[in-house]
């Protein structure tokens, strides 16, 4: 048998909707078979040990993977969803063993302590997302913030998006296998890989000429720039306009609907309401400098 190196990974689903997982299933190149079954890069295979939506085992055989079935300092922790922290973690569990509720908060901390690195997949895991929207009923927080509160020092890469494009996640994993952890020049201030999140949507928008010419749509679906309808493209760093979605079929603005800014920490409350033009004054608050 050829010598293939195994890279164990654990995927926790927390306060989210499973949409990030479903989005990753849409990956085209590499295909999802390449990701789950094949050597993702020559000689290296990601061994996904735990993922609630696809794993065969239920109950005890599943929970056992999280409790002792993992090599110390030898796995990748992938977090989908925000961490519900209110009332001692009672608002969300990853499972139960011998009558003990294993809270998402507790398991995130436990697993992060021994992980090589943490990938926060999606805006909920990266920044809190909609579950943390006002009045934040479950005390939902980003993965990075709960790790900082607990004093756990482990590299975190944020891959936000509601959901993230599959290329953003799969490409980041391929990068980890080929080149190791991203360096400081590879990430922006928010821990996002610059290769995907380095440019404003507005910079590469096909409707940019309409903006410059002052041609604005008055209803979703009309031609023209969608800025007056609340488009957050001028405040949002992502490559959606050039990469497009679902194997290049379309994207939100292409389909006549404003960009929601779903990759930003201001989603949803800072960008509320979604379909209202953002004022000049508020615009200044959202200025996030981008490394070039």
């Amino acid at each position: 048998m050829i010598d293939v190196q195994e890279y164990p990974a654990v995927w926790l689903q927390m306060s989210g909707c499973s949409g990030c997982s479903v989005s990753v299933l849409n990956t085209v190149a590499p295909s999802i078979r390449n990701v789950l079954v094949d050597e993702l890069v020559p000689g290296k295979h990601v061994n996904l040990r735990f993922h609630p939506t696809i794993m065969a085992g239920s109950g005890e055989p599943a929970v056992d993977v999280l409790l002792g079935g993992l090599p110390q300092k030898g796995y990748l922790l992938i977090c989908e969803g925000a961490v519900p922290t209110k009332d001692g973690g009672a608002y969300g569990g990853v499972g139960e063993l011998d009558g003990k509720h294993l809270s998402m908060h507790e398991k995130t901390l436990d697993l992060a302590r021994d992980a090589l690195a943490v990938l926060a997949v999606g805006t909920c895991a990266s920044f809190g997302g909609i579950p943390s929207g006002r009045p934040n009923p479950s005390g939902a927080k980003s993965v990075q913030s709960v790790l900082e509160e607990a004093g756990i020092d482990v590299p975190v890469v944020n891959i936000p998006g509601c959901p993230p494009h599959p290329d953003w996640f799969v490409g980041t994993v391929v990068g980890l296998l080929l080149r190791g952890l991203p360096g400081p020049d590879d990430l922006d201030e928010l821990g996002r890989p610059l290769v995907y999140y380095g440019k404003l949507v507005h910079e590469n928008c096909p409707r940019r000429a309409d903006f410059d010419a002052g041609k604005f749509a008055q209803h979703p679906g009309q031609p023209g720039c969608l800025y007056e309808l609340g488009c957050k493209g001028p405040m949002t760093y992502a490559d959606c306009p050039t990469r497009q979605w679902n194997d290049g079929q379309n994207w939100c603005v292409g389909a006549g609907n404003p960009c929601l800014g779903c990759v930003e920490p201001f989603f949803p409350d800072g960008f509320d309401p979604m379909y209202k033009k953002i004022s000049e004054e508020r615009l200044k608050r959202f200025a996030v400098s981008s490394k070039e």
């Binding site: 579950p131 292409g254 006549g256």
Partner: protein, 518 residues
């Protein structure tokens, strides 16, 4: 007597725990609970009404489109445009939701349910040329088998050859479901969490190049459904034929109807729909639906708010110490009774109306299996109904696609009212889905969702009626309590979506009240 706790119950959407008490090899008592609280309805309060169709999609990453549809129906109603949806807008909404059905059903059978029937390890002995099976064989040879092992062991009945064929289809189904999302993206902007379904219609416009690309992908997906999905479900039904007598629930079925065939009727209870609306009682009697009959019990749920409220007046006051509570899911009831929703419910409604093409397809499948209509109340009935529905919807999509008229309107004009109410009823892939909105001072004052899995996974009500999943489990024979295949197969046959069901409710508190086993 033995209690089996399965937590997490995997290969479903979201976080579910199931507890069953087994005595003498039979389930005596069953209880389901969700283990995640997010508070969507609370988060919606005070936001702009237009944001509802974007935010409610984020309830569930598997069927966001169904929420966009229900929410836009509720907004159509509140904005007073439900009778003015242009044909293009109606057809595009149907196409987008149809893609969601196909993706969800294919994913459910192959990637969520099949591993309870199919033994992937049979591929270790494969010596053929199929590229996918060669890849799976190499994977098994390397010995690191996550996420397919560990698993429950025992009741895998197919021959090695059939196991290999179905494993190859598992991999092919990954492509089929991806294609369904790509089709959705053509008119929906992106998926999951599409952009375009709006009150009044849709924001993306049909053009010939989009229609052409959609058509190409659709024909590949139709071919997959006809030559893989439907035959594979029948293959499972033949080898696991005892499961035609396992997993019947309350045998009472509700459907709100899915896919509008006309755009003028404002009343969702009487709109002409591809998958018809209706109620089938436990006696097999058909009734027209009346949304006023929907209430939500909180008798066994940890809420102090009044029980049996209509969703338009729904309240959500958590009380983790409530006497007699054992779940954080509410229990919707229709005319006071537990009622199953989902593809099987839609099939039973259409079957009782004699609606074609459904009745003909169901009769021919039953004939092939040598079974009568009673076999539909079962694990296999739910899988078969889902596969047949995927075929009917995919075939209808080809007609809708060709009926699009490039250059004609896709969306009615509207203005957001200061005060209004609206109701949106549709069918999500997993069953009847209702949204209720109340707008005051131009913002959302109250938003309530009654979702499919709440109907199916809710706990006991005031009268002691268990929810449909609990009813389906109770009385089931369990051969091996350490490998409770029967329990897992029954729960998964409902295709539970806990992200939807526990959008308002709490999980377990530290003082969770749990029944003890003698």
């Amino acid at each position: 007597m033995k209690k089996i706790v399965i937590d997490p119950l995997t290969r479903i959407e979201g976080h579910l725990k199931v507890e069953v008490v087994v005595d003498g090899g039979e389930v005596k008592e069953a209880r389901c609970s969700g283990t995640l609280f997010r508070g969507w309805e609370i988060i919606l309060k005070g936001r702009h009404p237009l944001d509802a169709q974007r935010i409610t999609q984020r309830v569930c990453g598997v069927c966001p489109t169904a929420h966009a549809t229900a929410s836009s129906f509720a907004l159509d109603d509140a904005f007073g445009v439900a009778d003015r949806i242009p044909d293009n807008g109606r057809l595009l909404r149907n196409l987008i939701l149809g893609c969601n059905y196909i993706q969800s059903h294919v994913l459910h059978f192959y990637h969520l349910a099949a591993l309870d029937f199919v033994d992937v390890t049979a591929v270790a002995d494969y010596d053929g040329e199929d590229d996918d099976l060669q890849a799976v064989k190499a994977f098994i040879g390397r010995g690191a088998l996550g996420p397919f092992v560990p698993r429950h062991e025992g009741d895998y009945r197919f021959s090695p050859e059939v196991n290999r064929t179905l494993t190859a289809h598992y991999v092919q189904a990954l492509r089929a479901r991806r294609l369904a999302h790509e089709m959705l993206c053509i008119f929906g902007g992106k998926m999951p969490h599409s952009a375009t379904i709006m009150p009044g219609g849709n924001s993306e416009v049909p053009t010939m190049d989009k229609i052409s690309t959609f058509l190409g992908k659709l024909s590949e997906v139709q071919n997959f459904i006809d030559t893989r999905y439907v035959p594979d479900v029948l293959a499972v039904a033949k080898v696991y034929s005892d499961h035609a007598g396992v997993g019947g629930g309350c045998n009472r079925y509700l459907a709100y109807g899915s896919f509008d065939l006309k755009g003028e009727n404002v009343d969702p209870a009487t709109r002409e729909r591809l998958l018809p609306q209706g109620l089938v009682t436990a006696d097999g009697e058909f009734q027209k639906i009346d949304a006023a009959q929907i209430t939500e019990s909180v008798a066994s749920s940890w809420f102090s708010s009044p029980s049996k409220l209509h969703p338009s007046e729904g309240e959500t006051e958590p009380d983790p110490h409530k006497e007699g509570g054992y779940s954080w899911i509410k229990s919707p009831r229709y005319d006071g009774k537990s009622t199953e929703v989902g593809p099987l419910a839609r099939a039973m409604v259409a079957y009782s109306l004699g609606a074609e093409p459904l009745k003909g397809i169901v009769d021919s499948a039953l004939g092939e299996l040598g079974a009568g209509p009673d076999a539909l109340h079962s694990v296999l009935g739910r899988h078969a109904a889902r596969a047949i529905e995927a075929k009917i919807v995919a075939d209808a999509m080809a007609d809708w696609l060709l009926a699009l008229k490039p250059g004609e309107p896709v969306c009615a004009d509207w203005a957001v009212p200061d005060e209004a109410e609206g109701m949106g009823l549709t069918g999500a892939p997993r069953g009847a889905l209702g949204h209720w909105i109340q707008i005051k001072d131009g913002v959302i004052d109250r938003y309530q969702l009654v979702v499919p899995t709440t109907w199916n996974a809710g706990p006991r009500d005031e009268e002691g009626q268990p929810g449909p999943i609990e009813q389906a489990l109770e009385g089931t024979k369990v051969k091996d309590a350490d490998n409770p295949f029967e329990v897992l197969r029954i729960v998964r046959s409902f295709d539970p979506c806990l992200a939807c069901a526990v959008h308002v409710v709490n999980a377990h508190g530290s003082d969770i009240r749990r029944f003890r086993v003698a």
